[in-house]
Structures are given as C-alpha cells and as structure tokens.
Symmetry: C2
Subunit: 349 residues, 2 copies
C-alpha cells in the first residue's frame, strides 16, 4: 500500500490534522513539531494524495490551457508563456500548480469535452487560446460552459480570442482586423492593386477578422475586390503552397499574396519560387504572427508581429489572480507591422 497521511502522523507522533497543517502551511505549528513531521514525510517518502486533497478542500491546483494545435509554434509560444506564469514547478507563483495543455485540434467537440473534463477536475483556472469557431450552436454551448465554470469559481481567461460577453471570462483579444488592414495598406502603399489573399479555415474568428481587415484596406483605397483573389485553406504551409498555385492559376497577374499566417506565407513563397517567380520582384508576400522562423525565410517575411509571449504571460498572471483584469474585462492587443524583404514595389509599376 501507499503511504498515507495517517502513516506520517503515526511516525511523527502527531495527529493527521497536524501533518496536514504542516504540509499546507496555513496554520501555526510549532517549529519542533513541524520538523518532526517533515522528517517523517521524508523518511516515508510520502506523496500527498491529490484527489483526496482536492475532494476535501474542494479546490484543485490544476490549470487548463486549451490550444487548437500544439504542434503549431503560434500556440506553443503562448502556452509556454502562460505556463511560465501559472507557476507549476519553478514558476514565479507561490503554490505549485499543474498547468496542463490540452490540444483540441480545432475540433468543436474536443473543445467542449476538454472543458467538461477540466470542470470535472474542478480546475482552478482555464485559459482558452486562439480563434474561436464561428458556429452559433457551438458558441452558445461554449458560452454556457464558460459561464458555468466561472460560476463554480474557475477563472477563465481568453487569450487571442474574441470576448465572450456575459460569461465572466476575461478576454485578451488580438487586433487581427487592425493588423490585417495595416498589412494590406502597406502593400497598397507600395503600389499593389492586384492582391491575392489566402485565408484560413472558414468559420473561425481569426480567419474572418484578418480577412475583414484586408478588405477594409482595399475598400479604403477604392480597390474593387475580385472574388477570385481569395482562397481558403488550413493554417499550414502545405495549404499555402496549394492555395498559391490556385491563385496563380486564377489570375497570373497578381502582384502580391497576403497569407493568413506565416506558415501559409512560407508555403506561398515555395509555390511562387517553384513557379519561377521572384520574391518580391515579381510577387510580394506577406504573413501574419511573426513566428521565429519568419525572419529566416529568404527573403525575410513581411508580417504582423503579435506579442504572443507577452499576451500569454499576461493571461497567465490574470488567471492566477496576480494581475488585475483589464477594465471591462476586455483588452485588445495590437500587432506591429514588420516590413521586411518579402514585400516590394510591384513589377508593373
């Protein structure tokens, strides 16, 4: 059998209550007693029973982080930053908390089930990262779940995700629309008038907002849109490659390609090169996020930098109650345009 609190108590010649208090340090215990208890703990190699503790105390030290794709550095970087603030071993936080990353793979069901699982574990906090799925039914279900979690005392923070009003969740939203607009305006400023756009998956807030920003920029400059110029795909390199070939097929006269994110942009670059086009002389390319590898692309990628680590860290602190929530429970985090080698004046100008 495993060692229990009672065993430690017996060995230290004290009551179980005292051992518990020594371990939790939330009640005065005489120094000599504490020492005796700690010695017994050490000798017996005692490890607290988490479930029992959580049951009795009606709280748990679990913190959940939901991500859409853990293999994507976009989420990895945020998760890493969140986790570093959550504490866990070695973090800045006091109490040791188990920060757990849950990979939804972008599936609505998984998202919901993970939330239930965390609710079941009576998680101390939950951080939802990345864009939300735009399906009315799913969204309602999510909101209901989030509200329930909040009511049960779980702090819910949205990081890089649109606010969920009336749910009690704190939102740190990325200004995808503004960033998208700024990016496209940069290209328009260079003289581009025929811009292809590789959007992310449909029914995602991130996809929609970035695209809306792009369109707003076009509209602001009186550029009429051609529906052939927009293609949807996944948020990965492969998708960018294929979408670019498709764009080129539809309209070979495009002078710029704006991608939904950096991975897609990289795929776009590869497709352009394979098609014998130079970047940026023949076609300019722009990404989004400014992930670490973007600066290493050849040419380096013009993109919008999102402060993923900073936002994640802040979300983590808020989740831990170590930082005040922004006024109204909502904060918008702006991106920063990074002009680099992949964008230049169009060939025809």
């Amino acid at each position: 059998m495993t060692v229990t609190l009672a065993d430690v108590a017996a060995r230290a010649q004290v009551s179980p209550a005292t051992v518990s208090r020594v371990l939790n340090g939330n009640y005065p215990v005489a120094a000599s007693t504490r020492e005796r208890v700690l010695k017994a703990v050490d000798e017996l190699d005692y490890v607290l029973n988490g479930p029992a503790s959580a049951l009795a105390a009606a709280t748990s030290d679990l913190v959940g982080i939901l991500v859409n794709d853990i293999a994507d550095p976009f989420f990895g970087i945020m998760a890493s930053a969140i986790q570093s603030e959550i504490g866990g071993p070695g973090g800045r936080a006091g109490g040791e908390r188990l920060a757990v990353v849950c990979n939804t793979g972008g599936s609505p069901e998984r998202e919901l089930t993970y939330l239930t699982l965390l609710q079941r574990q009576r998680a101390a906090a939950v951080v939802l990262t990345g864009g939300a799925i735009e399906d009315a039914e799913h969204q309602a279900a999510m909101d209901a779940k989030v509200r329930k979690l909040s009511e049960a005392g779980t702090r819910v923070v949205l990081c890089g995700r649109p606010p969920a009003p009336e749910t009690g969740a704190i939102a740190l939203t990325f200004d995808n629309r503004g960033g998208g607009q700024e990016l496209t305006e940069h290209l328009i400023g260079l003289g581009h008038r025929r811009l292809g756009y590789i959007a992310g998956p449909e029914e995602r807030t991130t996809t929609r907002h970035r695209l809306e920003g792009h369109r707003a920029a076009l509209a602001a400059h009186g550029i009429e849109e051609d529906s052939r110029w927009t293609v949807h795909g996944r948020y990965d390199r492969r998708s960018g490659y294929e979408a670019t070939l498709e764009l080129l097929r539809r309209d070979p006269s495009l002078t710029a390609v704006v991608a939904a994110n950096d991975s897609v942009a990289l795929g776009a670059c590869a497709a352009l090169r394979d098609s014998g086009l130079r970047i940026p002389e023949d076609v300019s390319v722009a990404g989004f996020d400014d992930l670490p590898f973007s600066i290493d692309a050849v040419p380096s990628l013009t993109t919008v930098r999102l402060p993923l680590a900073e936002a994640g860290a802040r979300a983590g602190r808020i989740a831990m109650g170590r930082e005040e929530a922004p006024p109204g429970g909502i904060a918008s985090v702006r991106g920063e345009l990074m002009v680099r080698g992949s964008s230049g004046v169009p060939r025809s100008s």
Copy 2:
C-alpha cells in the same frame, strides 16, 4: 452548491450507487433505469466530481506528457501525436482521459517536480519526451521517481529518450548517434574535410549522442578533429547564428557546418549569408530532425528525419496499454538521411 450524485439519484428515484453504475457503465443496469438516470443527469446538468471519483476508485484518468520546450515544434509534434492516441476527447481510445502536457523548460527541478505532481494526481500514465539531462545525481533522482511511479501502477514511457534500466519504463529511443554519423558521412562523401559542429547544450544525452555520431564518422574516415570546430549552444536559431559566427572566426576555412538541429541550422544559414557566404557553394549546412519548416529553407535543408509523429503515436498507444511494449522494453527508432539543397561539394575540391 453544485449538483452531486445524490441529487441526481433523488431526482431519478434511485440510489446513488445506481447512478454511479450508469455513469461508469461497468455494472448491469436495466435500460429503463438507465434512461431515467441519464435524463436526470441531463436535466440537472450534472458533472462528475473528478477528485471524488479518483479518490474512491483509486485511479485517475490523467496522463502526463513531459516536454522540454513546448514552443519547439520538435516537442509539439510529439506531444500532439501522443495526445491523439491517449484518447482525450475524440481520440481513438475508449475512456476519456485528460492528456496533459507539462513544460519543463529543460530544468531538472521542474522535471522532478512535475513528476511528483503527476504522482500526486495518481496519473494513469506518464510519457517523458526528448533527451535526458546527464547529471548523475539528477538522473538517480529521476530513476527513483520513475521506479516509484511504475510500482504505483503508472505506466511510464520514454519517447525519444534513452532507456532507464531497472525502472520499469518502456523506452522508444531515437538513434541520434547513428543519424549523426550518417549525416556527417554524407558530407565527408561529398569531399568535406573541415567540418564545424554546433552542438546543443552540454550535459544532454541528445547533444552527446549526435556529437558522438559526428565524431565517429570523422574517425572512420581518418579525419583528425580540431577542438575549435565544435561549439556548444542552445537548441534554437539564435544560438545557431552566434555559434556560426564564432566558428567562422575560429576557422574561416570550414567548408561545412553541422548543426544540432534544424532551428540551429537555420540560424547558421542566416549567419553564413550575413557573412557573405553562399550555401552550399561556399559552405554546406546540415540540420537534424527534419521539422516541417526545413524543407522551406532556401536552400532546403539537408537533415536527418526523425519520425516524431510516428514515435509519439506509438508511445501514446503503449502508454494506454493498447500496444505491446517492444521486446526488452526498449526499441530504437532510426532516423532517415534527407539529402537536400543545403549540402554540396566543398568549394576547394
């Protein structure tokens, strides 16, 4: 107050025991009764209390995945694959399990503390990924912890990590030494005789094994080593950039640079370009791992492909007891040499 089993029982006019059995489905319950119970569960919006359940049943549905750096796709890809097999919502597995990713940041203390936290939660299984830290004391502590976990019934699987004999852990080890050797032999075969090597952090098994493979290749071809040709750094791009400049400073006549992994190789490429050197005409570059972005580098990266997703998936299945452990509890996973554009014949030949 939150809804409890008893509330559901009252509403369904059955005993708590029956509700529990309906929920767990491990005991015969009449269809009509089950239906009544499920209806009550639904109406009351009941969510099982995880800790209470874990305490009573003395088991938990938590599975831990330890990674060194969650922001690094190397780990992200493995974690994703492991998690997909662990089940969790939507996975192939039957029971719903909470697969949690814990980020150690490469710190020995965190590694140990996370293991304790998982032990505390009575985790069903634990998967340790990536290289281990080569410190006798730490290793002994880890082995002891792992042994204790095994004894307590937690299945422990090492994925991409050297075996830990006598601990009861199953190991899926990457053949870093063989891969490193093959890679360097490829360069030697092209005619290179002056090869720089950017190693990972010291005191890491992965670092050592890859370096050993490199040296074995040199030795096999009678190439004498120059201690100036090896530089240690972190496993990231920045480190590769700086290390390359350092190598160039030490010996400008190098015709090839072998990096500890792909990120480092990318940094090396950037440094070479910034130094006015062409790849591979002036200097060849090689990486390791074959992460998704490697093929997009310009020129595309010669590297050793590690089947991260496959190995992760297998580790996940073994952790769930859905696949037999390899004979002896140890399997070696080989890498595959991917010859691409970044390696060519040396300039002097």
